[in-house]
Symmetry: C2
Subunit: 312 residues, 2 copies
């Protein structure tokens, strides 16, 4: 029986293999995704992002457990920060997932950047689809940071939760500017620390100033994840946001937008691979660069020539 | 007289216009770059990166002034962090550049992300070339942060300086992992604050453990930029690194590697524009997504079809 059939029948090992194929860009990945695609669209995707040290892993675990208590199955994709050069994902904190890993209703997968962040958002989106086709009700995509790459990853989410903690100092200002518009929900973790209320006030002020504000005002929820405080309320907020965007047609809009971005993303990455096979692997790039250095031609002229040569 | 001729004759307004054309992807940008290309390769490019709040702007100003004291002309490209959605670059701290802006030997330009970080590294590289062709001896590319995007930007540099400050707490650990391999020089700014020596020891420990270490051990220099302390020593270290990589042939290797990356970058972004004109602007993408949603086809199949249609 093939991997896709096994996956669709609920075989966890098949799901794991499918995501490995996606992650490593194995040849069969495209075939797998093509077959899985018709079975997607049923899961609800929750994105969780925030700066390092905000306690996102613990929070993700608690949220997952709470969904399990509600009888829902959960998939977790933990996108890990990586040195762009060494390719080693920092998976250490996943070890904290003690109880969860024993629960058959939860599937946890870490994904590292392996030096290609561009590819990561596309791979994360495909991993979400694999878990969706597998039958998970809720898929949590957890990612560190709030830069452009993390924002791209979070685009795979239906609802995005931004996690902050008190006492991050002035650097938080720079972070806040970028997250204001991606956060559907704000969670203040470690809210037993001093400064939690100040942070709530600051976020409220930013929201007051936000000219993009729709009818939905992102709720700001204080939690203490490692003690489980505030978790049921968080799930309530996720549900409220889900109801809101469903009712207003925003969920459908977001998913349409996402489908477009994904299609362009797949097309771009396939073209990049094609270019690599034609220009890099053949040694042509080396020759071009030699010619640049001898000022015989320049990259702009060569790109024009190559485009005319490759495209119909 | 055209903009390129004017630029090559030292007209600052022409340089400014050329960079604006690059930044906004005006049609003439490619022609400008084609003409400028043969005049590039003479400037030395210093990259300065580090987390927000490390005092990079002040440091950049002081370094630029010191180079001016040595009789060298300087170009500064300050790459600013931006909210990926609003597109507003945070240029505020550039206002601090009081003395410098009056100096004809210094050309300062801020570049924002405007929602396309991928394009930013390519645009920064082109702005560097414009300043290079203009005749600047030293070009400083200053960028905030140490994520993948900033690393891409720093790739335009011959020597990369990583700026850190004492007392950044544990979060600095995550940052350090990524910067270890891009830093040719480490600068501890605000080194009159407590913890400077501890930070030096920590970086030294990381360098001791670094299995990628070459003959070049990155020097760690303590400075207090706003008081001008340690700046001449910094320039001495830059010169030592420049001598080292020149002598060992590493500079030539880096520039060859950079020329290859740039050519692929230009090719990729031209192809993206081509795709947009064929698939997005024509409304085909909208039709595809409708078909996906009705499960009539899937993005992987469509991408295959489109590739066959577009490529020779």
């Amino acid at each position: 029986m093939d991997i896709v059939e096994e996956l669709l029948q609920g075989n966890r090992l098949a799901l794991s293999k499918a995501i490995t194929a996606i992650e490593n860009e194995y040849d069969e990945a495209t075939e797998i995704m093509t077959k899985l695609y018709p079975h997607t669209g049923n899961a609800y995707v929750l994105g969780i992002t925030g700066p390092p040290g905000a306690g996102k892993s613990t929070l993700t675990d608690k949220i997952a457990k709470e969904y399990r208590n509600q009888g829902k199955t959960v998939g977790i994709i933990a996108v890990d920060p990586t040195s762009p050069f060494t390719g080693g994902a920092i998976l250490g904190d996943r070890i904290r997932m003690n109880g969860l890993t024993m629960d058959e209703g939860v599937f946890i997968r870490s994904m590292g950047t392996r030096g290609s962040l561009g590819g990561l958002s596309h791979k994360t989106a495909d991993a979400v689809k694999a878990m969706d086709a597998f039958g998970k009700d809720i898929i949590i995509v957890e990612t560190v940071g709030v830069g452009q790459s993390e924002v791209d990853i979070v685009k795979a989410a239906d609802t995005t939760m931004v996690v902050l903690i008190p006492g991050m100092g002035d650097d938080i200002q720079a972070i806040k500017a970028g997250i204001l518009e991606i956060g559907d929900l704000f969670t203040i973790n470690k809210s037993d620390l001093p400064g939690a209320d100040k942070l709530v006030r600051e976020i409220n002020m930013m929201l007051d100033l936000d000219s993009f504000m729709t009818d939905w005002r992102p709720p700001i929820q204080k939690v203490v994840a490692n003690q489980g405080e505030g978790i049921p309320e968080l799930l309530g907020n996720v549900q409220k946001h889900r109801d809101y965007i469903t009712e207003k047609g925003i969920l459908a809009e977001r998913r349409t937008k996402r489908a477009k971005d994904e299609m362009l993303d797949i097309l771009n990455s396939n073209l990049s691979r094609y270019i690599k096979s034609k220009i890099v692997d053949t040694g042509r790039l080396d020759n071009y660069v030699e010619q640049f250095q001898q000022h015989q031609t320049d990259p702009y002229t060569v790109v024009g020539d190559v485009m005319r040569e490759m495209l119909k």
